[in-house]
Amino acid sequence: MKKRPRRRKNSKAISRIAELLREKVIDSFGWYGIAEPVEESSQKVVNGEQGVTDDDESGEPDEDEFDEEEYEERQYYYDPSDVQGALFEAISTAIDEELIPGYEDPKHAPSLAEVFEVLLGRDSELREKAEYFEELISGYDDRAHIDDLREAYSVLVHIVDQLAPTKK
């Protein structure tokens, strides 16, 4: 008898978390040209890394500024901080709305996988997916490969769909 309200509360929390992930995190992939019409996305891919411009603010010429390696890097690697920040924001809202039992006053920033561990259990498939998603968006040396970001987007769409299937 006691477990029913808890389950109901969890299912409401899960729906709300799905909503937050959809609104805040999935939307943030638009910046990278993912999940947008092809015409828009191709332009953003060419522009490359966030905040990178061809101009060195010092105004001095850089002898190796336009070499081929740099060009390649700009096409395929991006600063993932926008999507990371969006995830922090979504989890922050979940904490503020007290959707995660035991995390009303966390002492460290919980990961999405930890949130799912609380709500769905350690062995949940979605917890593993969340861990993979976070690995993909963590990048390395400040950069994430565009293929990893595309994969992260697909994984997140799958997670959200599993949490709260879209009504058709």
Binding site: D56, D67, E73, G85, F88, K107, H108, E131, E135, D141
Partner: protein
């Protein structure tokens, strides 16, 4: 030390059902770097690996972070001028290969510029989201920003980046000057003059528990 790294690597690759022998036979160099190489890791720290190999399929395994590099890129100006190359050349432990490219390593202006952009991006991102973040995430941002400023400071002085736990230890021991980090922030585009909140970030972080990278 190296045999410890090998055992850990073998166990993680086995868990992920990846071939240790295949990885080593195809690679010309396998190098451990980061906190485990420097012996300042925590129990949960990942093992960071540079693998110089013609096979560029990205590898995912829990507890392992791979950086893959083509052999022809290892001696190139771009790699040898990078932040990561300077770190690995100083702190790396070679499991395979000799790392001849190390003699070409010199922190480039591009590496400094990229770090400046990274710091600017982190500061702007924090500023835009600040009011919507729970305090634990505000702390996380502040730790990230402080570490990136420390790294920028090192790069500007042509010093290889130290592993993150060493950066944290220096900060907590008061060996890194807050004024120096603030002056670096003041010099950045887009966030000059430094908003008051960034000064608060660095003040807050002085008491914060380090967060993961």
């Amino acid at each position: 030390m190296t045999s410890d790294h090998n055992s850990y690597l073998l166990s993680r690759l086995t868990s992920a059902r990846l071939g240790y022998d295949q990885l080593f036979s195809e690679a010309s160099e396998v190098v451990v770097f980061g906190s485990r190489a420097a012996g300042v890791n925590g129990p949960d720290s990942d093992l960071d690996l540079l693998v110089i190999t013609p096979r560029m399929d990205r590898i995912y395994a829990a507890g392992l972070d791979f950086v893959l590099l083509l052999p022809e890129d290892a001696t190139g100006m771009f790699w040898c001028g990078s932040e990561l190359a300077s770190h690995i050349s100083q702190y790396g432990k070679w499991l395979k290969g000799s790392g001849e490219w190390r003699q070409n390593v010199r922190i480039s202006r591009r590496a400094v510029l990229r770090k400046r952009q990274r710091v600017t991006g982190a500061a702007v991102n924090a500023f835009e989201r600040w009011s919507r973040l729970h305090p634990v995430f505000q702390t996380r941002y502040s730790v990230t920003l402080r570490r990136e400023l420390q790294r920028l400071d090192l790069l500007m002085r042509q010093i290889p980046i130290t592993p993150t736990p060493m950066l944290d230890a220096e900060w907590q021991a008061g060996l890194t000057s807050t004024e120096r980090l603030l002056s670096l922030l003041h010099d950045l585009p887009l966030i000059s003059p430094v908003p008051h909140f960034i000064e608060q970030l660095l003040a807050r972080d002085s008491k914060a528990v380090p967060a993961g990278r």
